[in-house]
């Protein structure tokens, strides 16, 4: 190994940078004394450990780079992944349907399944906007909030149940999607991103500050749970409840399982609608819009309708998911609808490989499931989440499943190659 000297030198430089970067934050700790003024206490041990760790990590990374076998990327690989998807998807579906029925499965795992499935649904919904139509939406959580608050307010003020509110929530969210869509029709790329982000923040600010309607930061409590043909999932048992009707002992698992199947059905509906739309003129117009807006317009596609429907359909599914979220939690507050939620859903879509339905499922399992299983590391959870975003993007910039063929193509399907991507057509 002739470069060892250079590698050590490089690692030392990185460690030196780490010393400066971490110095003020890990090496020192702000505190308060009795007089109420700030104090600093040194933490040399922590700083030394962090710097040593950085040195070792950099050293190992450089050594690995030197010794790893040259990368051979088979041309057929991506096609192979697409083929494998044909078998993975049904297998995952069977696993998802069977999961809550496994004997002896704990309630908490079904609950985790509900959470992951909610994000899968949100991911699929956002995939319509970002993955299919290519419109970057950083305020997706606004529609989720609209759906959740629609249901919460309708049930609080008019006593409506989950099943009546589900379509209303979706419609209201779709309406808001159109409202957002109109002003941003002329915007493209990053201007669009910042306006959608601003829209998400406006919705959250209104929810927080309109105390008379939404209860402000305290949120809305006692949102009813869904019932099964009028049978409630009350723990009391007795007539009129699910457990009483079927002569079972009341168990929280029954309700969780029911919620699980509701969200599974909603998510599958989202997926089914997306897959169907992709084969129809509207879906083709979305994909054309994503690939090239000018060519799209030149071919006579109505950009306004195409964009608005993408926003509306994407928002509608977020509205459904929001309605479900409200009924699952029985409590909602503006804290659940921050930018970080939008970012998480967008990250799921992009990590999955924008446009790929199966990728969204994998990314949701990784990004939502893994942090939930790391509950013991509570305070480091978000730190790990952020690091994972960076690392996954650097290692696999195109996401887990990196194929994106137009759904319909003339003659031989053409893969979008790296050369075209580098020209900014990603």
């Amino acid at each position: 190994m002739k470069n060892l000297g250079a590698i050590l030198k490089d690692s030392a430089a990185v460690a030196g940078a780490a010393l400066l970067l971490f110095g003020p934050f890990l090496g020192l700790r702000l505190g308060d004394n009795e007089a109420g003024s700030l104090t600093l206490s040194p933490r040399p041990g922590l700083l030394a450990a962090a710097v040593a760790l950085t040195f070792a990590a950099r050293l190992l990374m450089l050594l690995w780079y030197q010794h790893r076998p040259p990368r051979i990327i088979p041309v057929k690989l991506s096609a192979g992944t697409a083929q494998a998807g044909k078998y993975i998807a049904p297998a995952l579906l069977i696993a998802a349907v069977a999961m809550p029925l496994l004997p002896g499965i704990e309630n908490s795992y079904i609950d985790l399944g509900v959470l992951i499935m909610t994000y899968v649904m949100l991911g699929w919904g956002l995939n319509i906007v970002v993955g299919l139509a290519g419109l970057l939406d950083l305020g997706y959580v606004a529609f989720y909030a609209v759906g959740a608050y629609s249901f919460a307010l309708l049930s609080e003020n008019f006593g409506l149940g989950f099943w009546e509110c589900l379509p209303i929530s979706g419609l209201l969210a779709a309406l808001w999607g159109m409202c957002l869509g109109f002003p941003v029709l002329r915007l493209r790329g990053d201007y669009l991103a910042i306006v959608t982000l601003a829209f998400g923040e406006i919705v959250r600010l209104v929810i927080t500050n309109w105390v008379a309607l939404t209860g402000g930061p305290n949120g809305i409590t006692d949102i009813p749970h869904p019932s099964l043909f009028g049978l409630s999932f009350s723990m009391a048992g007795g007539p009129g409840t699910f457990a009483g009707f079927f002569h079972l002992t009341p168990d929280p698992k029954q309700r969780t399982t029911y919620l699980y199947y509701i969200i599974l059905a909603l998510a599958l509906l989202t997926n089914w609608v997306t897959l169907r739309l992709r084969k129809q003129p509207l879906g083709r117009a979305w994909e054309a819009l994503r690939e090239d807006e000018i060519a799209c317009r030149s071919l006579g596609i109505n950009l306004r309708n195409t964009k608005l429907t993408a926003f509306a359909v994407g928002a509608m599914f977020a509205g459904f998911a929001g309605c479900f979220f409200a009924t699952r939690q029985a409590f909602i507050s503006p804290d659940s609808f921050t930018f970080i939620e939008s970012a998480t859903v967008l990250a799921i879509v992009v990590l999955g490989g924008a446009g790929s339905q199966l990728g969204v499922v994998l990314a949701a399992c990784v990004m939502i499931g893994v942090p939930e299983l790391l509950q013991s590391l509570q305070i480091y959870r978000m730190l790990i989440f952020g690091l994972a975003l960076v690392v996954i993007m650097v290692v696999r910039p195109r996401g887990f499943i990196a194929t994106r063929q137009p759904t319909v193509s003339l003659g031989k399907a053409k893969l979008i190659g790296a050369a075209m991507l580098s020209e900014g057509r990603g």
Partner: protein, 302 residues
């Protein structure tokens, strides 16, 4: 009248701070076409280094010396932060799928926030006003218009930093290289400009400006926590977009406008909706001027 003047003074001070952060966004966007989501958090890091330095130097009686040390150290360390962030999270993704650097930047932003939260705690940290006092400009109907020394100091420091920055961008070889890479990175590389190094310098300068803004913010409000970067970052990005992203004077103009809107809205309407007002005005301006106030209207070639 007096009240409006007071809001004008407050708005300009605040706008200067936003303008400084917005420059970082607009430069990075101009040069590599990505939204550097972590920039707001570099601003927060700058504010924290400022408070740490000021606490460490609390024994020193000379306030100007302490402030100068805080500014310089904060700017230097934040420059290193900006450089490292670009090396770790953005450079490997250059020329890649458009959304990849955005997600990486959002990840970096989450990392920085939680890094400061876990290492320094989630509590708000406060410092006393280091430059108390001011001059009373006028008095009307019992309302005194105050121009504090602190506000004067903030505006002066910002103007000095902006002057240096303008000199660097317009008069030095580095600035020329930066403008060249912004116009056409491939052509600049062919003409012998080290684009990677130029991009690194862009991050270094942008982060140093954000650090100065962070220290100014710390002095102005006296209270910071690990979450200030998010709000300030979004507003500064809004300022950059409002002014026309990619345009440096536009960033400062946008920052001033955002600061003024915020100050007047808080003064005459409800404080609760001041952020909503900023975002709404952004949406309205973009509806009519899709490339911002001073943005170039790019002709898209097919």
């Amino acid at each position: 009248m007096a009240y409006a003047l007071q809001q004008l003074i407050n708005g300009i001070t605040l706008g200067m701070i936003y303008g400084l952060i917005a420059i970082g966004y607009t430069m990075v966007y101009g040069i590599i076409g990505m939204i550097n989501f972590a920039h707001g958090d570099v601003f927060m890091i700058g504010a924290f280094i400022g408070i740490i330095v000021l606490t460490a130097l609390s024994g020193i009686t000379s306030v100007p010396l302490g402030l100068l040390a805080a500014l310089i150290l904060s700017a230097a360390l934040c420059a290193l932060y900006g450089f490292s962030i670009e090396r770790v999270a953005y450079r490997p993704l250059r020329g890649s799928f458009r959304l990849a650097p955005l997600i990486s930047a959002i990840g970096m932003s989450i990392v920085l926030e939680n890094y400061v939260q876990t290492s320094q705690g989630a509590l708000e940290r406060a410092i006393p006003n280091l430059i108390p006092g001011g001059i009373m400009l006028m008095k009307q109907n019992g309302f005194a218009v105050q121009l504090t020394w602190l506000q004067i100091a903030i505006v002066i420091v910002t103007l000095v930093v902006l002057a240096v920055f303008t000199y660097v961008v317009t008069r030095t070889p580095l600035g020329r290289a930066m403008r060249a890479v912004e116009q056409d990175a491939k052509m600049a590389a062919l003409l012998g400009i080290d684009t990677n190094r130029t991009i690194s310098y862009t991050f270094i300068i942008g982060s140093a400006l954000a650090a100065v803004a962070g220290v100014m913010f710390l002095l102005y409000y006296g209270v910071i926590d690990f979450y200030i970067g998010f709000n300030a970052g979004i507003k500064a990005f809004t300022a950059a977009v409002l002014g026309g992203i990619g345009s440096l004077p536009g960033a400062v103009l946008g920052g001033l406008l955002i600061g003024l809107i915020e100050a007047f809205w808080s003064g005459y309407a409800t404080v609760a909706y001041k952020d909503a007002a900023v975002y709404s005005i952004l949406a309205i301006v973009l509806m009519f001027m899709p490339t911002g106030l001073l943005g170039r209207n790019e002709v898209e070639k097919v």
